[in-house]
Amino acid sequence: MTLTTTTGEPAVSDGATARRKKLVPYWLLIPGILWLLVFFAAPLVYQASTSLQTGSLEEGFKLTWHFGTYADALGEYYPQFLRSIGYATAATVLCLLLGYPLAYLIAFRAGRWRNLLMVLVIAPFFTSFLIRTLAWKTILSDGGIVVSTLGSLHVLGLTDALGLTEGHRVLATPLAVVCGLTYNFLPFMILPLYSSLERIDSRLHEAAGDLYARPLTTFRKVTFPLSMPGVVAGTLLTFIPAAGDYINAELLGSTDQKMIGNVIQSQFLRVLDYPTAAALSFILMAAILALVTLYIRKSGTEELV
């Protein structure tokens, strides 16, 4: 069959209009690109250069391509690095364990309460991060309800033995910092989990049941694999900011719980050793990038819909 092919658009007599239409996407990109250049690329380059400078505050810093700062920084602060990764991992796992059932409940069982529950999940964001973390200082304070309850249940003895708490205190222990991190980043876990669970077609559950899968098997073989994009997004959104966080360690921990964020903060603001602070920032960034890449490779999310 021969037909005159007609383009969907009206006959292009005005070439300029067509060209302008083609440029629209690029114009729309400009604000975003400008933002990234000014607030991401420029500081990044500036810090990279700072990390390779030597000198002192009095004499001024000069770019000397001194890569030794990196080795020195890593050599001195590797315990804080490992601690950051450890605390962030613990908080991420706790967030997943707490957030998954909640997201599942909201997505599949909440019915008309769904929207209200979602509002409750993000309700903590209505107050400042700092205030919320300070509130935990009160919650976990010595002799408070939480500590005395845990004490009378002999939980503190157990956590003490595991090195998570010390004696009759929860505050200024690893447990307190991990609790704070978990609490503060939980919504970042729940939101992506919810959105990926909510998209699962309930008929797939029925189909699995129809094909002899018990409810638990249906979860293992259908629901959980299909929620993997949410799991990956949630763990990344929790792990990355938690690894760089310093507020929780600052307010809920002691000097023994210092994370890498605290070191960077004090190097920048108190010690005023800018090259070391910048080098630590870059090491943290590289470490997170490497871990995240490895994680995404392992979880194989690129194959998921």
Binding site: L204, D210, Y212, A213, V222, L226
Partner: protein
């Protein structure tokens, strides 16, 4: 073609007793009794919202009946969850697992029952539905027709006692539907399992099923072989929903003979008493039904050539439309308006154009009688779409 079903496999009968489903104050299915014989191809036919899908889901165990019992081969399975019932479903939208490839989708049921070596069975099943070379594709990479075949294979591989099909062809275009209807019929022949097929497409139901149950508003209106339903509908709904019917309101004159004699306007009509499902009493009204293709159209000038003993009605053509195989006429007559007549295009009479005076005549044995108390329009306006 290899047969996957072990020799001698035949389906089981399904018996529903007093089964019903209510949601709050809405009754989706009124208490109904239904027996589907083993190995049959059974269709539940009805417009959307008539309760046919709900009935199917109660057999599958996906919906709990409000009252009544479901029995498979004499075993009461009413309380069993879906995963414990020996039935499988082909879902309306196929519900294939998007994270698994075709092979794993088909193997799903076997693996859940702890069968380790699934390869031979899966390969054979993919062969049966002619998808062997697509085993490693994902469902979303397949066309609608291919997805549909995967859904059938995924269900059939478990050798269910009963296969439930919920509007399985609803998403396919007409040509593919026709092809898949024959395909499903072939598969049913090969595996010999009881098929229960839910559809809103009357042609599909009649083409595929041995037995059709016509459902309307949560009740089964009539059940029988497709030809029986078509030739002797018992309600106006069935008469209108299954194909097209001309229903003429007539007064009963005489019920003494083999034929009931009636009068519509000034025309006398005859109807074999055996083809009348309503009780006919002299002086009362009755609906006389006749299918459009059973009527012959003769121009009024040739009225003398109409043989004796046929029911005849005079009228005037108001519309005619040529459809290729036949020409469809609309005829107004004093007895009834808007009568439709399908004439095969063998020897076309050029005088049969709108405005022409004609005689409609038919063999009285082709008419059927219905209770005049029913809504004469029931089932005409249900252009069924989507799920029931």
């Amino acid at each position: 073609m290899t047969t996957t079903a072990p020799a001698g496999t035949s389906g089981t009968d399904v018996r529903l007793t007093g089964i019903s489903k209510t949601y709050g104050s809405f009754t989706a299915v009124h208490p109904l009794d239904l027996t589907v014989p083993a190995g049959s191809f059974f269709a539940l036919l009805g417009a959307s919202g008539c309760g046919k899908t709900t009935t199917l889901r109660m057999i599958a165990g996906l919906e709990e009946p409000s009252t009544g019992t479901v029995e498979l081969a004499g075993r009461n399975v009413t309380g069993l969850p879906a995963y414990k019932r020996p039935v499988n479903t082909v879902f309306q939208s196929y519900a294939l697992f998007p994270h698994l490839d075709i092979y794993e989708n088909v193997a799903f049921g076997l693996r859940r029952r702890g069968i380790k070596s699934v390869k031979k069975q899966v390969d054979e099943m993919l062969e049966l539905v002619q998808l062997g070379d697509l085993a490693r594709r994902r469902p979303q990479q397949l066309s609608g027709g291919q997805q549909q075949r995967v859904a059938v294979a995924r269900a059939l591989i478990n050798h269910p006692q009963v296969l439930l099909l919920d509007e399985p062809l609803g998403a396919l275009d007409l040509k593919l539907r026709r092809q898949m209807q024959l395909e499903l019929k072939r598969i049913q022949h090969e595996v010999g399992i009881t098929f229960i097929h839910v559809t809103h497409d009357q042609e599909e139901a009649m083409t595929m099923a041995d037995t059709v149950a016509v459902m309307n508003a949560g009740r089964i209106e009539q059940l029988g072989a497709p030809a029986d339903l078509y030739e002797t509908p018992r309600t106006t709904f069935v008469a209108n929903f299954l194909g097209t019917s001309n229903l003429i309101t007539a007064d009963v004159l005489d019920t003494s003979g083999d034929d009931i004699l009636l009068r519509a306007s000034h025309t006398k009509l005859a109807l074999p008493a055996t083809r009348c499902t309503a009780s006919a009493r002299t002086g009362e009204k009755l609906l006389v039904g006749i299918r459009p293709e059973k009527i012959t159209l003769t121009h009024a000038d040739d009225a003398g050539s109409v043989p004796d003993g046929r029911n005849r009605i005079t009228g005037r053509i108001t519309e005619s439309s040529f459809t290729g195989v036949s020409t469809q006429y609309l005829v107004d007559s004093p007895a009834a308006s808007g009568l439709s007549v399908y004439e095969q295009n063998i020897e076309r009479d050029s005088r049969l154009v709108p405005g022409a005076e004609v005689v409609l005549h038919w063999n009285p044995g082709h008419s059927f009688g219905l209770d005049a108390a029913q809504n004469i329009e029931a089932g005409t306006d249900v252009e069924a779409e989507g799920a029931g």
